[in-house]
C-alpha cells in the first residue's frame, strides 16, 4: 500500500494533536490545551452529524440537542451527588450509559417523526424538536433554568482515569476522537454505509431495487445521536458547566458550518472544519483593531459570514478541497 500525501497530512495532524499537551507545557501556556480539547469534542459531534449530512443527505438542524442530553446527564448526576449525597449518580460509567442511551432514545423519537419528511420540512422539524429540548431545559428551575448548572465534581471513573487531571481528560477526548474516526471509516464502508450513501444518491432507485431506506436512515440517526450524546458527556466534564445554551439551534448551526468548512462526505472533513471554525472564531474575535470606538473583534461574525459564503461558493468541499487527492467531481 502506498502512502498518499493526504494520509501523510492527516497523520501529521493527529500526531500534532497527540503531542499538544506536551507542546503547551513546554511553551508554558496551557490555555491552548483547553481550547483544542473543546475543538476535538465539537469535532466528534460534527463527525457524527456528517454521517447524516455528508453521507446520508439528511440535513439535521437539531444535532446540538443530543450534545445537550449527554451534558445534562453529567450535570444532573453531579447536582444530585452534591446536593443529596447520592453517590452513584457521580459514577462516570453509569452517567455514560445513561448519556448514550438517553441521546439514542431521543434521536430515535425525533428521527422516527422527522424522517417521514423531506427537504426544508426535515430541516425545520429537526430544529423545532431541538428547540423544544432547549426550552425544556430553560424551564427547569431545579437545574438552573437558563443560568445553567455548575458541575462541582467531574464524572468519577473509579480510578481508571482521573478526569480532574487536564492531561488525562485531554487524552480521553483525543482517543475518543480516534475511535469515532475509525468507527465512521468502518461504518461508511460497510453494507449499512452503502445503503445510507445510496439513499442520498438516488432514493427512487433504492426503492426500485428493493431497499426501504427509512429504517436504515433511522438507524444512522440514532447512531449519530448517541455519538453526539457522548460528545456532550465529554463537554460537561471539560467545562464543569452545562446550560441550555449548548442545545440552542445556533449551536446546531455551528456544527453544520463546521461540516461545510471542512468538507462533506470526507472522513476527516469535520475535524478540519471544527479546527477551522474555532480557530477563526478565536483569531477574528481578538483582532486588535478599533474603528470609531468599536472593537472589530466583537463583530467577528461580520467577517466570518462573508468568508463562509466565499468558501461555499468557491471551495465546495471546504478545507478538504485544498488537500491533495481531493475529489473534483462533487
Amino acid at each position: 500500500m502506498s502512502i498518499s500525501p493526504r494520509l501523510l497530512i492527516n497523520s501529521a495532524l493527529l500526531i500534532f494533536l497527540a503531542a499538544l499537551p506536551f507542546l503547551t507545557d513546554w511553551a508554558g501556556d496551557s490555555f491552548y490545551t483547553g481550547l483544542v480539547a473543546r475543538i476535538l469534542i465539537l469535532a466528534i459531534a460534527a463527525l457524527s452529524l456528517n454521517l447524516l449530512i455528508g453521507y446520508g443527505g439528511m440535513v439535521s438542524f437539531g444535532h446540538a440537542a443530543y450534545i445537550g442530553v449527554g451534558a445534562y446527564v453529567v450535570g444532573i448526576g453531579a447536582f444530585h451527588a452534591f446536593e443529596d449525597g447520592i453517590d452513584w449518580m457521580l459514577n462516570g460509567y453509569i452517567q455514560l450509559v445513561i448519556a448514550l442511551l438517553g441521546s439514542a432514545f431521543i434521536a430515535l423519537i425525533i428521527g422516527a417523526i422527522s424522517l417521514r419528511t423531506r427537504g426544508v420540512y426535515f430541516i425545520m422539524i429537526t430544529m423545532a424538536f431541538s428547540q423544544m429540548l432547549y426550552f425544556t431545559a430553560v424551564g427547569v428551575e431545579t437545574y438552573g433554568a437558563d443560568d445553567g448548572l455548575s458541575i462541582y465534581s467531574r464524572s468519577d471513573m473509579l480510578g481508571l482515569i482521573d478526569l480532574n487531571d487536564e492531561k488525562s481528560l485531554y487524552y480521553l477526548i483525543f482517543i475518543s476522537l480516534l475511535v469515532v474516526l475509525y468507527l465512521m471509516h468502518r461504518l461508511v464502508g460497510s453494507a449499512f454505509g452503502n445503503v445510507i450513501r445510496g439513499s442520498k444518491s438516488n432514493e427512487a432507485r433504492m426503492r426500485a431495487i428493493g431497499f426501504s431506506p427509512y429504517k436504515y436512515r433511522l438507524t444512522a440517526f440514532v447512531i449519530a445521536g448517541a455519538i453526539a450524546g457522548y460528545a456532550g458527556f465529554l463537554m460537561a466534564n471539560l467545562n464543569d458547566f452545562v446550560s441550555p445554551d449548548v442545545m440552542h439551534w445556533t449551536r446546531s448551526g455551528d456544527l453544520i458550518i463546521m461540516i461545510l468548512l471542512g468538507g462533506m462526505a470526507s472522513l476527516f472533513g469535520p475535524l478540519y472544519g471544527a479546527l477551522a471554525f474555532l480557530m477563526l472564531e478565536e483569531m477574528l474575535s481578538s483582532i486588535p483593531l478599533t474603528i470609531g470606538g468599536l472593537h472589530v473583534g466583537e463583530y467577528w461574525q461580520l467577517i466570518f459570514g462573508p468568508l463562509l459564503i466565499l468558501i461555499v461558493l468557491y471551495a465546495r468541499n471546504g478545507v478538504d478541497s485544498f488537500l491533495p487527492g481531493a475529489r473534483k467531481n462533487s
Binding site: R186, L187, S190, A191, G193, S201, A208, I209, S212, T219
Partner: protein
C-alpha cells in the same frame, strides 16, 4: 415456452385530477414472452409501469403477479418478489462506480444490510454476480470508472444491468432505447434478444423496428386502454391500430 400467465392486470385504473391515465386496462404477460407495449405519447405507458412497481397507487383494478395479489405490497417488497424496472429517464447512482451501482442492487437481494463493520467493496458475494451481469451487458471493461463518466448509451445499458441484478422474474423496461444513437440501439436490440431467452420482459418502446423484431406479442395502448393485443403480424394488420396509432408507419 409455457403459457402460464405471469402478470395479470385486470381493469386497472389511475386518475389524475379527472384525467384517466389508466382507463380500465386489462393485460396479461405470459411467462417467457417478450410483451411490448406501444402507444402514442401520453397513452399512459409509464404510468402503467409505475402502478405495477408500486411507485404510485392505483385507483382501481387488480394486478396479480406469479399468483400473488400486489395490492398491499410496497415498491421494495415488489422488487423482492421479482419485479424489476428500468427507468425511461436514466436513474443511477451517479457518484458510485459502475460496479458499485450493480453491487448495490445485488446487496438489496442478499439479506438485510444492518451490517456495520465488514468492508463491502471487496465482498466477492456481491462483486462476482455484479461483474457477471456487467459482462452480459458488455460493460465489464468499464466496471471501475465513475458512472457519471459513462456515455449516454452506456448509462442506458447500466440502467438495465442494475435491474437485472435484482434477479427479476419480470423485467419492466421503460423505453430502454430513449435517446440512443442508431448504432447503440441496434446493439441493444441484440442484447435484448439474448435477454429474452432467459427473462420474461414487458417492454415499452417507441422504436418500432426494435419492437416488431423483438416482441412475441404487442399491446397497443391509447388513452390508458389496451385497444389491441396480438402477435406483431396481427398488430400490423389490425384496422383499429392503424387508425389510432400506426398510420402510414405500418
Amino acid at each position: 415456452m409455457t403459457t402460464r400467465d405471469l402478470l395479470v392486470i385486470k381493469n386497472l385504473v389511475k386518475r389524475y385530477d379527472g384525467l384517466l391515465a389508466t382507463d380500465d386496462l386489462s393485460l396479461t404477460v405470459r411467462e417467457g414472452e417478450l410483451h411490448a407495449i406501444i402507444g402514442p405519447n401520453g397513452a399512459g405507458k409509464t404510468t402503467l409501469i409505475k402502478q405495477l412497481t408500486g411507485e404510485i397507487p392505483s385507483d382501481g383494478g387488480q394486478v396479480t403477479f406469479a399468483g400473488q395479489n400486489l395490492k398491499r405490497l410496497s415498491e421494495p417488497e415488489r422488487s423482492h418478489i421479482g419485479l424489476a424496472r428500468s427507468f425511461q429517464i436514466t436513474s443511477l447512482f451517479q457518484d458510485f462506480t459502475v460496479l458499485e451501482n450493480v453491487c448495490l442492487a445485488v446487496q438489496a437481494h442478499s439479506g438485510h444490510s444492518f451490517r456495520f463493520w465488514k468492508k463491502i467493496n471487496d465482498d466477492t458475494t456481491l462483486t462476482e454476480p455484479a461483474l457477471d451481469i456487467l459482462r452480459q451487458m458488455g460493460l465489464e471493461p468499464r466496471a471501475y470508472i465513475a458512472t457519471s463518466s459513462l456515455s449516454h448509451g452506456e448509462q442506458r445499458q447500466l440502467e438495465i444491468a442494475v435491474a437485472l441484478a435484482t434477479k427479476p422474474k419480470l423485467l419492466l423496461l421503460d423505453e430502454p432505447m430513449a435517446g440512443m444513437s442508431q448504432e447503440d440501439s441496434e446493439k441493444l436490440v441484440e442484447r435484448l434478444n439474448e435477454l429474452k431467452q432467459r427473462y420474461t420482459i414487458l417492454l415499452i418502446e417507441h422504436d418500432m423496428d426494435a419492437v416488431f423484431s423483438l416482441a412475441d406479442r404487442i399491446s397497443v395502448l391509447v388513452y390508458g386502454r389496451a385497444i389491441a393485443t396480438g402477435t406483431p403480424d396481427e398488430i400490423r394488420n389490425n384496422e383499429d391500430v392503424r387508425q389510432a396509432y400506426l398510420g402510414e408507419e405500418a
